[in-house]
């Protein structure tokens, strides 16, 4: 049934009767309900509509430093070890030092190097918040199948990486409550900067 085949490309604009001109694009119809009160000066345009709770939940995947937004569920180092071997090891390596040629970088190591000439920035040495590891893994990893892991799996893999990094006790089950507790080694390593650094208008860093 043709009507059910979603087009994957726009067709050329229709020819108009009489002149053969190309039809202009269809005037967009708003998703708003009809009859809304309109007052442009008060930013009431009758365009767009209220987002439902389900619509928001479907995309509100972020996890914040204090654990806000973290999903239900949990996982352990032991579970994570197996999941890592299945989903991550190909690019980040058995020793979590990355695998050349895959783009997968080192996830642990590098402590004490940040003030040297050859700093090594990893989850272990550099990242200020554990939530970022969960959030990023959930949204973007594994690179070849992003968004494919369940919350439980992401908790377990995070527990495994933080365990290998010596940040989280290997016995601790990771869950939404854990984020507020974990102390990342470089938690105090960041500050807000006021630039520019040089030239007229120079402003000192604000700590």
């Amino acid at each position: 049934d043709d009507a059910q085949v979603p087009r994957q490309a726009a067709e050329l604009p229709q020819r108009l009767e009489g002149t053969g001109e190309r039809a202009p694009e269809t005037v967009p119809r708003s998703s708003a309900e009809e009859g809304a009160e309109i007052d442009p000066a008060a930013f009431r345009f009758g365009l767009g509509r209220r987002a439902s709770g389900e619509e928001i939940a479907a995309v509100d995947i972020d996890v914040m430093p204090d654990g806000h937004g973290a999903p239900e569920g949990g996982g352990t180092f032991a579970e994570g070890e197996e999941l890592y071997a299945t989903h991550c090891v190909a690019c980040h390596g058995a020793d979590l030092q990355g695998v050349e040629g895959t783009g997968g970088v080192a996830l642990i190591g590098g402590r004490g190097t940040l003030d040297t000439d050859a700093p090594v920035k990893t989850v272990e040495s550099y990242w200020p918040h554990a939530s970022t590891l969960f959030d990023y893994t959930q949204r973007a990893m594994p690179f070849n199948a992003p968004g494919s892991l369940t919350p439980d799996e992401v908790y377990a893999i995070s527990a495994y990486i933080l365990g290998r990094a010596g940040i989280l006790d290997k016995g601790t089950e990771m869950d939404a409550a854990t984020f507020a507790e974990i102390e990342m080694p470089n938690a105090d390593g960041f500050y807000r900067a006021t630039r520019p650094d040089t030239g007229p208008g120079e402003a000192p860093d604000a700590d």
Partner: protein
């Protein structure tokens, strides 16, 4: 990665093709779950989305080699015209010219005749300017009655680009004008060997030999590798594929400045050398052949321009010219350049007639068609710059009307 030009077989077996200027890629159900196309997927020169399909429209002349195609102004944004949608007017097709085989000869009433390769020209001091080009035949179908249905048809022979090249005055200074030099013949290397005579005053003022458009080489349709740019003058004079400039004391009276591009007046005599494009504006949204889906908020927007300088003001009427409201001008407002205007509008579902009226910095006000016809009659073909009217019917249909 890119299946440019190829087709994708949709689920039910219906083949789909990418629109002109697009490459066809598979559309994943959830783009967050699968890697997209790799960086440099189109070998380093990208193309538009497969979901965009506005195109130039060719006016149905007898042959496609002397014909014109029009910019889809209704789908435009801002003031830059995408180079792939710049209007075209060719009298003998688009020549394909190898820039290494192309040269420009400057001769006639000069101290020293000169010859420039493209390499020479690219080394000279350059300028970049944003300017509109409008064919003086733009809107020619609309003198007697509303004829074409869309703003692309009625007004699509105008486009704006950022042009880069050498000031023609630089070349004339190099060659040295002789006493009495008053006109310059510009000649193209197309199969029409297109020629126009240009007053020296204009040339010394702001003429540019352009080799670039919107940050890259001129497009073939715009005269690759070299065109004359005469900001604010009718498009036909801005000779493309430029190969020769001859300086003289009198105009050459070429076919394009006698048989064509002269304005026949009601008394049977004709105006000649009506170079400047008078100020003009048009509402591009809403415009002809659209249909407003229902009453509500719409932003009226369009373009205004003047061959005499900057746009000073645009007024919009929703009642066929009885009352006018000043529209906001989007910056930058540039000399001899399209200027976008915008005005919020709440359509109450009743019939309306939308018009725009530009005033340029010389104080000139865009005339009504009635005012223009009172002077010119309806047989002068060129330079119709009157106020355009779009009627919005009760059911939302927008049509081209004379009001």
């Amino acid at each position: 990665a890119s299946l440019g030009g190829a087709m994708i077989a949709a689920a039910a077996g219906r083949a789909q093709e990418a629109p002109p200027g697009a490459a066809l890629e598979p559309v994943p159900e959830d783009p967050t779950r699968v890697q997209g196309q790799p960086v440099l997927s189109e070998n380093g020169y990208g193309s538009r989305s497969q979901f965009e399909s506005e195109v130039r429209w060719r006016y149905p002349t007898a042959t496609a080699h002397t014909s014109w195609s029009m910019t889809p102004l209704a789908s435009g944004h801002g003031i830059v015209t995408p180079s792939g949608l710049h209007f075209e007017r060719h009298h003998a097709g688009i020549p394909t010219i190898d820039p290494r085989a192309h040269s420009l000869i400057l001769h006639g009433m000069v101290e020293e005749p000169l010859r420039f390769t493209m390499d020479d020209l690219m080394r000279l001091p350059a300028v970049s300017r944003m300017h509109f080009i409008e064919c003086s035949g733009n809107t020619l179908t609309e003198w007697e009655e509303p004829t074409l249905r869309t703003v692309q048809g009625t007004h699509g022979l105008t486009s704006t680009s950022e042009w880069t090249g050498v000031k023609l005055s630089t070349l004339l200074e190099m060659a040295g004008l002789r006493d009495g030099a008053a006109w310059i013949l510009a000649e193209g290397a197309d199969a029409a060997v297109m020629t126009r005579s240009v007053p020296v005053g204009k040339v010394m003022d702001d003429a540019i030999l352009a080799y670039a458009q919107n940050g890259e080489a001129l497009r073939p349709e715009q005269g690759y590798p070299l065109r004359l740019l005469l900001p604010g003058f009718e498009g036909n004079m801005q000779i493309k594929w430029l190969r020769r400039l001859e300086v003289s004391d009198t105009p050459y009276m070429t076919r394009e400045e006698t048989s064509k591009y002269t304005d026949l007046m009601p008394d049977g005599r004709a105006r000649q050398f009506t170079f400047v494009m008078d100020a003009k504006s048009v509402i591009t949204f809403p415009s002809g052949a659209m249909r407003l889906p229902r009453p509500g908020y719409y932003e009226i927007t369009g373009l205004a321009w003047s061959g005499r300088g900057k746009v000073a003001k645009v007024e919009v009427s929703a009642d066929g010219g009885e009352t006018w409201e000043e529209a906001a001008l989007e910056g930058p407002v540039l000399d001899k350049c399209h200027t976008r205007f915008r005005l919020p509008w709440v359509w109450n579902g009743e019939e309306a007639v939308l018009q725009s009226r530009v005033t340029d910095e010389t104080g000139y006000v865009q005339p009504t068609l009635e005012e223009l016809v009172a002077v010119r009659g309806t047989d002068s073909v060129y330079h119709l710059n009157a106020i355009q009217s779009w009627r919005v019917a009760g059911d939302g249909e927008v049509t081209n009307v004379h009001a």
